[in-house]
């Protein structure tokens, strides 16, 4: 099958075309993600990789490309790349080569970047993306390779000079290249989120886009469905999910407009201007780049053993897809709930601790609705949650053994969240136990009935709906502690309903 036919076969039946003036257009997207490897030291030098810091403080003489300096590879970065490849179900290439990519720029002190061109460390793999409609899109990974990051230039400090900080120069990056299997801006962000989740599960990249740990270059082209592939443009260095969506949407419209007016797309590199909300041609990088790749003679080919790769494979954690499947089959959760819980490894582990020996669906509900809700509002994360998994679990126990009603449990949870106190302590100190004593409930009901004879009469005359009012009043008088079910039953009994 030709590449054309494969595209059409895989995606022809999907909807989501963009309507243009001359008909529908299909959006073809591929992404190159640069993910910073989580490591203490840089790829070829022993300088630290910490974010921030004074300029040129995290720089070794090797990073600064002083005369006579030489690269020495960090074995952990190699392992991280292999780990990532395994997480992407990809082929690990036991032999790979580092090539020099030659060009001049002040943030590239060597005048070349050490990368991998011909023989990357990881080959083909895939990422499964769960679509909102319940389906799954498979985005194929073409390759993953290791390369050095460049430094940073500040252009706005001076009219004619730039300020260069080489702290980031030499940090290990994994470049993850997808096939052009993505068909919409939404899919692109879902793909990136899934990729980010996988990397975070593996511990190979923290996925912190604000700090630049993960950036995406997006290749965008459009075509008439079933038609030949269009010319693509590359949008470089987009560093937030929101901008990725906006950039793709803008670029798609831009290209469609040009084509519908009978023009042609010029293959070029563009930047997303987040202020103006548009993509702009990078005119200065317009000159054809001849990178003159050749194997770096300061390094030897990287040779891995299958045994070593297998050791790493054994140490992989359970990955999101497998975990999600297990949550669905093992805990009986819905696909949607399972997705939410596995989005983060810490969240999944939190949930499982809560669910252990308890009703999993109730646990899932509490984590997703109550805990997530509170965390989001307070701007906290699972890691900084004031309510631990054990504490939440014990709250659910109090609910299960009827010590608390569901309403009381919510109240106790709120207090737990604010105070960090244990649920038992809160219940004891505030006497928040559910009232399940029928005598007490009867007494409370009698009191309200006695105080409101007119309402009693109304109910007796047929206004059943006023029962709700009685429920409210009894709840108020018992400080919300009356067991709702028992209260309802008792009320009905008293009214003879």
């Amino acid at each position: 099958m030709s590449v054309q036919e494969i595209y059409d076969a895989r995606h022809g039946e999907q909807g989501g075309y963009i309507a243009g003036a001359t008909g529908d257009w299909e959006l073809i997207i591929g992404m190159e993600v640069h993910a910073q490897v989580s490591s203490k030291a840089k790829l070829f030098s022993g300088a630290p990789t910490d974010f921030g810091g004074e300029p040129n403080e995290h720089v070794s003489l090797v990073d600064a490309a002083m005369p006579g300096m030489l690269p020495v590879i960090n074995e952990f970065c190699v392992a991280q790349a292999v780990r990532t490849g395994l997480g992407l179900k990809a082929q690990i290439n036991l032999r790979s080569v580092f090539d020099r990519k030659n060009y001049f720029y002040p943030d590239l002190p060597q005048g070349y970047q050490i990368s991998q061109f011909t023989f990357p460390i990881v080959g083909r793999g895939e990422v499964r993306v769960d679509m909102p409609d319940g389906g799954t899109r498979i985005v194929r990974i073409e390759r993953l390779h290791l390369e050095q990051d460049a430094g940073k230039s500040l252009h706005d400090q001076h009219p004619s000079m730039s300020y260069v900080d080489l702290n980031r120069s030499g940090v290990a990056l994994m470049e993850i290249v997808s096939q052009p299997d993505i068909r919409s801006a939404e899919e692109a962000t879902l793909y990136l989120e899934k990729l980010r989740t996988i990397l975070r599960y593996l511990g190979t990249c923290d996925g912190n886009m604000q700090e630049g740990s993960m950036r995406a270059d997006i290749n965008v082209s459009v075509r008439k469905p079933g038609g030949p592939l269009g010319t693509r443009c590359e949008i470089k260095n987009v560093n937030s999910m929101r901008f990725i969506r906006q950039a793709i949407e803008y670029e798609a419209r831009r290209q469609i407009e040009i084509l519908e007016e009978g023009g042609a797309i010029r293959q070029e590199t563009r930047l997303y201007d987040q202020v103006k909300g548009e993509t702009r041609s990078m005119r200065s990088k317009e000159e054809s780049h001849d990178y003159r790749y050749f194997p770096d003679p300061d390094l030897l080919p990287l040779e891995l053993t299958q045994t070593w790769v297998d050791e790493i494979a054994k140490s992989l954690p359970e990955l999101p897809d497998a975990k999600k499947a297990r949550f669905i089959s093992g805990y009986g959760l819905s696909a949607y709930d399972a997705s939410l819980l596995v989005a983060d490894r810490e969240t999944a582990e939190f949930f499982e601790r809560v669910a252990k020996g308890r009703d999993a669906k109730i646990a899932a509900n509490w984590v997703i609705t109550n805990l997530f809700g509170a965390l989001n509002e307070a701007g906290k994360t699972i890691e900084t949650s004031p309510v631990s998994a054990d504490a939440l679990g014990r709250l659910l126990d109090l609910l299960a053994d009827q010590t608390l009603s569901s309403r009381l449990a919510k109240d106790v949870f709120e207090i737990m969240f604010l105070s960090g106190d244990a649920p038992e302590k809160i219940v004891a100190e505030r006497g928040l136990r559910q009232v399940t004593d029928t005598g007490a409930i009867d007494a409370a009901i009698d009191a309200v009935m006695a105080a409101n004879p007119d309402k009693v009469a109304e109910v007796k005359s047929g206004k059943d709906k006023l029962l709700g009012w009685f429920v409210g009043q009894v709840m108020k008088s018992t400080g919300g502690k009356a067991n709702p079910q028992m209260l309802n039953d008792a009320l009905r009994q008293k009214f003879g309903l």
Partner: protein, 492 residues
């Protein structure tokens, strides 16, 4: 008192240990000789204060019985090695004012063993050349002259400053680097000994890189023994250099047993090039006879791809150099010539900073790596390289060392070969194959040409078998009994 500069390294070492003279006296003798020989232009930077301070330290170490292997020995350092806080130029304008905050591994080894630094020696710019005529700091004059002639001759290159300084007794010994012959060829042109170790034997960390897969630091000295002593200190694994090999360093001096009985010495047919001067052919045969007389077996061998070594070298070396020299851009160190913007500044700085030969090689290198030409030139040359290495592997199944002339001619006049780049390249015809194959080679003075200029014989060895190389070289040296010295016409 005897002129202390007459002593070889071994003699000076023994003399210092026997306290016949002090390290300071020895250093002062050399400083005086250097001051009187500036016309030769061997040194780019002299470091007399540092030298005397190091010598004083050596004297106290000798006194307390803590002498290192090179304690108190005054050395010259080719100005391709970065030396901490001392101007390091690579003989280029583009490294104006560059004083590194770090020391190369090889020189660190030397200072650790107590050697004394006299200064930084002149060389071809960025080690690109075979005559030391491309230096920003001017050419080096060979202390040797043709009989009855005052024409200035080249000392060879790129380690021309090193070779001339040793020949003129302006240092006991020196470091050089050899990428295509830059130690062996100048050694032959100046009647001294020069050794290029196996690739990976010495660390390249802190040495300005020319062609990474070919560069190798090595010792240059008056005698084979001196060379062996110096190699023992320079060599060794360096974890900061990924191409440095982790193998123990043998006692090279102990290898000089003088006994080569039963050794097989190869004579490669392809090194008999057209138009080779009769004197060189004759010297080569004489050398073979000396070794036969010492009990070795002479074996005719074939290295079929020899003639392709030079063209392959002139593709691979410039290609690597074009990339290695990209960091000389005026942004972080060295010369910056301000332009109207970034690109203009790059171009102005590099064009003003690099000499013509360097620019030519950068252009060739950029071209052969560029899109569309990479396969045809660079990859092809790297394949030829494999063939050349395979030739040697096959030959070394039959022989223990290979004997060849070091150069196709003796030293020539300054300016004589400037119009003819290929002619200049041919100086390295015998030395380049060893660099391509990563094998060790040594040049030993073997005799004089018709007009009284030194000629050298080269020995090539198996990988990491510098011991055999030195042993055979020692036998050659004894047989040649080369005692000729240049007349000291340069002393003011």
């Amino acid at each position: 008192m005897t002129d202390l500069t007459e002593l070889s390294l071994a003699q000076a070492r023994d003399g210092l240990r026997a306290k016949k003279f002090s390290a300071l006296e020895l250093t002062d003798a050399y400083l005086a000789a250097m001051a009187a020989a500036r016309v030769l232009n061997c040194y780019i930077t002299e470091t007399p204060e540092r030298a005397r301070e190091m010598a004083r330290t050596s004297d106290s170490r000798i006194a307390s019985g803590k002498a290192g292997a090179l304690e108190g020995i005054p050395l010259g350092i080719k100005d391709l090695f970065c030396t901490k806080d001392v101007l390091s130029t690579a003989a280029s304008h583009i490294l104006d004012g560059f004083k590194p905050a770090y020391e190369s591994t090889v020189t660190t080894n030397l200072w650790r063993e107590g050697a004394v630094m006299l200064g930084k020696l002149n060389l071809d710019e960025f080690a690109m050349g075979s005559s030391n005529e491309t230096s920003y700091y001017g050419p080096v004059i060979n202390p040797w002259r043709r009989t009855g002639d005052t024409a200035k001759l080249v000392p060879g290159g790129s380690s021309g400053g090193s070779s001339a300084a040793i020949a003129a007794h302006l240092c006991v010994a020196a470091t050089g680097t050899d990428t295509g012959g830059s130690i062996r060829q100048p050694a032959a042109f100046t009647g001294i000994v020069g050794l290029k170790p196996t690739y990976g034997r010495c660390s390249r960390w802190g040495i300005v890189a020319f062609a990474s897969s070919l560069d190798q630091a090595g010792p240059m000295a008056r005698t084979v023994r001196d060379t062996a002593i110096l190699l023992g200190v320079m060599a060794g694994h360096d974890p900061k250099d990924s191409t440095s090999v982790d193998r123990p360093v043998p006692d090279y001096e102990a290898a000089l047993t003088g006994d080569i009985k039963g050794m097989r010495i190869g004579i490669p047919a392809e090194y008999r090039v057209d138009g080779m001067p009769a004197g060189i052919e004759a010297m080569w045969s004489r050398g073979a006879n000396w070794l036969r007389d010492a009990g070795a077996e002479i074996v005719e061998i074939s290295l079929p791809h020899t003639r392709y070594a030079l063209p392959a070298y002139y593709i691979v070396a410039p290609a690597e150099a074009s990339s290695n020299l990209a960091r000389y851009d005026g942004m972080r160190f060295g010369l910056r010539v301000a332009g109207k913007d970034l690109t203009d500044t790059y171009e102005k700085s590099r064009s003003a900073g690099f000499g013509a030969e360097v620019k030519r090689r950068i252009l060739i290198g950029t071209y052969v790596l560029s899109a569309g030409y990479y396969d045809a030139y660079y990859l092809r040359a790297q394949r030829v390289r494999t063939l050349i290495a395979n030739d040697f592997k096959a030959a070394f199944e039959k022989v223990d060392a290979i004997l060849t002339p070091a150069t196709p001619s003796p030293a020539f006049a300054i300016g004589a070969r400037n119009e003819d780049p290929i002619g200049m390249f041919l100086n390295d015809v015998f030395t380049v194959p060893a660099n391509l194959a990563g094998l060790p080679g040594i040049s030993v003075p073997a005799g004089l040409s018709e007009d009284g200029l030194p000629l050298g014989l080269q020995l090539l060895g198996k990988a990491f078998d510098e011991e055999t190389l030195l042993r055979v070289a020692g036998v050659l040296e004894d047989a040649a009994a080369f005692t000729a010295r240049p007349a000291q016409w340069w002393r003011a």
